[in-house]
Symmetry: C2
Subunit: 137 residues, 2 copies
């Protein structure tokens, strides 16, 4: 828990600096989810993104509205079914996502550098087991 809380704190602080200091962690995660849905053929409907983030549809609407104002996301009505709102990241949103990914990558890399490679293998294996374990719950 201590390690985890440190990571959360560092993530928050890293966001406060740099180009995207006006984005909260939550907003960053919304952008991330939209970008992920966009690249990986996951669904980018408003409700699906809300579901992926485990927040209510209403909450997502307000966050997205703000992110639209901040120039990171845009909404588009689905042409076939006009009830559906699809979410896309702007250039700026994509840049923010890449910066955020980079932060995570660098964090992991610095950790890996501090660990002998045999231990890295075990750590990864253990984390995969944890993932499977918690997913079952």
């Amino acid at each position: 828990m201590k390690v985890f809380n440190e990571i959360l704190r560092i993530e928050e602080e890293s966001l406060k600096k740099g180009e995207f200091h006006n984005l909260s962690v939550r907003e960053m995660h919304v952008i991330e989810a939209v970008c992920t849905a966009n690249h990986t053929a996951g669904s980018n409907r408003s409700s699906d993104v809300a579901h992926a983030l485990r927040i209510s549809a209403g909450t997502l609407t307000t966050t997205v509205k703000l992110l639209e104002k901040k120039g990171c996301l845009i909404r588009k009505k689905d042409t076939a079914d006009k009830r559906i709102v699809r979410l896309y990241a702007t250039q700026k949103g994509q840049r923010a996502d890449r910066a955020h990914q980079k932060f995570h990558r660098e964090m992991v890399l610095s950790v890996l550098k501090a660990l002998p490679s045999e231990e890295t293998d075990v750590l990864i294996k253990a984390l995969k087991k944890l993932e499977a374990f918690f997913e079952r719950l």
Copy 2:
């Protein structure tokens, strides 16, 4: 991150059930911090607990006020320096803390059961390194 977020979610859900369902994660952590300060000769002054939890003094005041109403904590003015407010857990608060500790212990135990013991050793070693690594930042 996925594993960590799962853990957070599970912690939240575990709190929603059982005797202490009316306590939020934040409130539980305040109780935990107070109990820890009480057993381990750490400081239980209001400001120290706030600092330990990395929240502002004002935020702690309001949370503690609520927890007092819920019968989990009590405040006492320090007799020597009456500016200082010292925080103590009631019987109920202590019971809540023990229940929460038990949740964490059981979570860890179930994970350990799923892991061969050599891997457990390496995992612990790796987590200690992570802890040291993040603390340096």
